[in-house]
């Protein structure tokens, strides 16, 4: 049939154009980054490190992998965890540039090897060692003086992995993992957490000032204020988000954003929150879409019958 031939030409040309300006162009614009499935064993860091750093990274992650094999003692870890609580106490006080995160769900949110690495050397673990001449300058650097031996590290991590777990809401996951640096105004969150309702303008402005102060500290620490994440989920591709969170350096070399060390489960929760604030219509789209399309399929069938009727005695 001639019309089908014409249709084929139109469709093929349209598809070639689409392929060229979308999948192909984007593959050329963005460098491809392999994800590593939320496994933190240092392989990626070593691969991307400069030659002078590679040896140190190799040694560091080698030790981390060793510690991971030690059987940790959660009971012994509990006592040591007390030292962590000195800072990670939920008081919301900025320490060295940022408010230390609450660790209530740390066992679910963060990967085991990542936690080991973090306690051993926070700058190395979060892959921002390029920012610090010595790790002690890192806001969490002092941990090196508190939890020192491999066994101690294994114990604390065992404790966190055993006790600091549990079901968390997407918002809690987001606040613990990202919320101290990134605001999310569509979720009514600032670096200080949820913004309460204020009776008077004066109270509201006073709170705003506190937020600005906190943001100034974070900005000083990070070099620039980390962006608001309200609709980041639509501003970046899924692949970008995932690989960026696994290892920010791969997508933005030199960035001061630390690796957060999320487990797959933790990432899913954070992503769920980002979708809640940035793309809440997803569910509705998927629920309504098929019905609307079905409507037009039936519409088209009826229209075809109508057309056939009028055209049958024309030729």
């Amino acid at each position: 049939m001639k019309e089908f031939k014409i249709l084929a030409v139109v469709v093929i040309l349209s598809l070639i154009t689409y392929w060229g300006v979308e999948p192909f162009a984007h593959s050329q614009m963005h460098k491809h980054v392999e994800g590593h499935n939320f496994v933190y064993d240092g392989a990626a860091d070593i691969a991307e490190a400069t030659t002078e750093k590679a040896a140190a990274k190799k040694a560091f992650w080698g030790e981390v992998n060793q510690i991971a094999k030690l059987p940790g003692n959660a009971a012994a870890g509990e006592a040591l965890f007390g030292t962590c609580m000195g800072c990670h106490n939920g008081a919301g006080i900025n320490m060295g540039g940022v408010i230390p995160p609450v660790l209530d769900h740390a066992g679910s949110l963060y990967d085991k090897k990542y936690l080991i690495a973090l306690i051993k050397d926070p700058a190395m673990a979060s892959n921002v060692d390029h920012k610090y001449a010595v790790t002690m300058m890192h806001p969490m650097g002092a941990v090196q003086a508190m939890v020192t031996t491999p066994q101690q590290i294994a114990d604390v991590v065992a404790y966190i992995k055993a006790k600091k777990v549990g079901k968390m809401t997407p918002q809690a996951a987001y606040e613990e993992a990202c919320g101290r640096c990134h605001a999310n105004r569509y979720g009514n969150l600032t670096q200080l957490g949820e913004t309460p309702k204020f009776k008077t303008e004066k109270e509201a402005l006073a709170h705003k000032l506190k937020v600005l102060d906190e943001q100034a500290l974070v900005e000083k620490y990070m070099g620039k204020l980390p962006p608001d994440l309200s609709i980041m989920i639509r501003a970046r591709s899924e692949h970008f988000m995932e690989t960026f969170i696994e290892n920010p350096q791969t997508q933005l070399p030199g960035t001061s954003m630390p690796r957060v060390g999320l487990t797959k489960e933790g990432y899913e929760q954070v992503k769920a929150y980002l979708e809640e604030t940035g793309d809440p219509s997803k569910e509705a789209r998927h629920a309504i879409g098929p019905w609307v399309i079905l409507f037009f399929v039936i519409f088209t069938v009826l229209a075809y019958l109508w057309k056939k009727h009028h055209w049958k005695d024309l030729h």
Partner: protein, 413 residues
């Protein structure tokens, strides 16, 4: 004075007929508006455009209910209020965004159909010119709408495109084509700011739609006398064919009435189109709603890759490989080239391109070149892409320069 029947019931058929000639109007506009029978689904593109324009207006009305044209709140009024809070606000926005993109695909199909079948000449020049005017107006409408969410792409597209109006370098021809201060006048500011946003808002929701509606009416009017073309470019005696049809000799007649016969086919094609359209609206909208525009406008940071929407890419690519002044000339050429088509084509033959010798080659090279330009326009300007882009731009210019010569020697068959 016409005769009025005193006894006719108010608003009855007769009453209306005496006052407004409804029967005649209906005949003229629909039941006896004759369309050649020998057409294919490509002739439904015009109605699809009209329907898509309707969708744009309806969805636009609902967006307008919560959109705020202020540089401080525009972004959140769209991305938070409309997308997160307003009931079905996301639906209107997705329909509006996807329709604005897809309408250009249909416009291009419609245009290239006209070129392929030679529907732009021999009495159909005004159809073509009014159509091209619609193309330009739609481009302006799309561009002004793109400013409104006030994201990074809005801001930087606004910056780059308005800067084109600076004109040529001051050193060219003693500076006659250099317009210092004009860009600021356009924007009402040194950079795209509040004044810029409000005036583009005005253009997008009022002035341009008004003009577009008027030109659509003009476009329809220009169709009336020459009638639409047909698949073989045959000249048809419409009076005779219409008489046959009205006598019931439908098989012998070469024409059909617009309503209901042609319309039934239009509506069927429209149905197929809407299936695709709503699939895109619900499940595949990224191509029409660029992720980069979900970052709020920042006048101190240009995004890593900026590029126009896909439908402007070909003309953008004609501008890009050259230095600024040459680029502007090439760009201007690209804008007027299609307007001039009826006058560049020197052949009197109205027939499908595939039956027109060298013009066949011209047509398909033009199509391929447009696609190559479009794809190159999006790729980063580096390495081999720049070379291909430059060649494609030169081919485009050569094509339109060569057209009069090619068509002059076409057989008069």
């Amino acid at each position: 004075m016409a005769h009025f029947d005193e006894k006719a019931k108010p608003f009855s058929h007769k009453w209306l007929n005496e006052r407004m000639a409804v029967d005649t109007v209906k005949k003229v506009l629909s039941t006896e508006y004759w369309i050649p029978k020998d057409i294919n689904f490509l002739w439904a593109m015009g109605m699809i455009l009209a329907a898509t324009f309707g969708l744009l207006i309806i969805s636009g009305i609902f967006l307008l209910m919560y959109y705020q044209p202020s540089v401080d709140s525009a972004f959140d009024s769209v991305n938070y209020t409309i997308m997160n809070e307003v009931g079905y606000g996301w639906l209107w926005r997705h329909i509006h965004g996807v329709a604005a993109s897809v309408v250009f695909l249909v416009i291009y199909i419609h245009m290239f159909t006209g070129i392929y079948y030679g529907s732009y000449k021999r009495g159909r020049e005004m159809i073509w010119l009014s159509g091209m005017l619609l193309f330009v107006l739609f481009s302006a409408e799309a561009f002004s709408g793109y400013m409104l969410p006030w994201g990074q792409m809005s801001y930087w597209a606004g910056m780059v495109i308005t800067n084109l109006f600076e004109g040529f370098s001051p050193t060219i021809a003693g500076g006659v084509a250099n317009f210092p201060g004009f860009v600021e006048w356009l924007r009402g500011d040194y950079v795209p700011g509040q004044a810029f946003l409000t005036r583009f808002f005005m253009l997008h929701v009022f002035l341009l739609p008004l003009v577009i509606i008027a030109v659509i009416v003009l476009h329809f009017a220009t169709l009336r006398i020459p009638h639409v073309n047909n698949q073989h470019g045959k000249e048809i005696d419409f009076d005779e064919a219409a008489k046959l049809y009205k006598e019931g000799k439908k098989k012998e007649s070469k024409v059909i009435p617009f309503n209901p016969v042609f319309l039934s086919k239009d509506v069927f094609v429209m149905g197929v189109y809407f299936i695709l359209f709503f699939y895109l609206v619900f499940f595949h909208f990224e191509f029409a709603m660029d992720p980069v525009n979900f970052d709020p406008a920042d006048g101190l940071k240009t995004p890593a890759h900026i590029y126009p929407e896909w439908y402007f890419l070909w003309s953008y690519e004609i501008l890009r490989p050259f230095n600024k002044d040459l680029g502007l000339i090439a760009f201007g050429f690209a804008q007027v080239a299609f307007f001039l088509l009826p006058f560049l084509d020197k052949s009197p033959v109205v027939a499908p391109a595939n039956k027109r010798g060298l013009f066949k080659v011209w047509f398909w090279v033009m199509i391929v070149d447009m696609i190559v330009l479009t794809v190159m326009g999006k790729l980063p300007p580096e390495g081999i892409w720049t070379v291909i882009g430059l060649v494609a731009a030169l081919v485009f210019i050569a094509l339109f320069v060569a057209l009069p010569f090619i068509t002059k020697f076409e057989k008069k068959a």
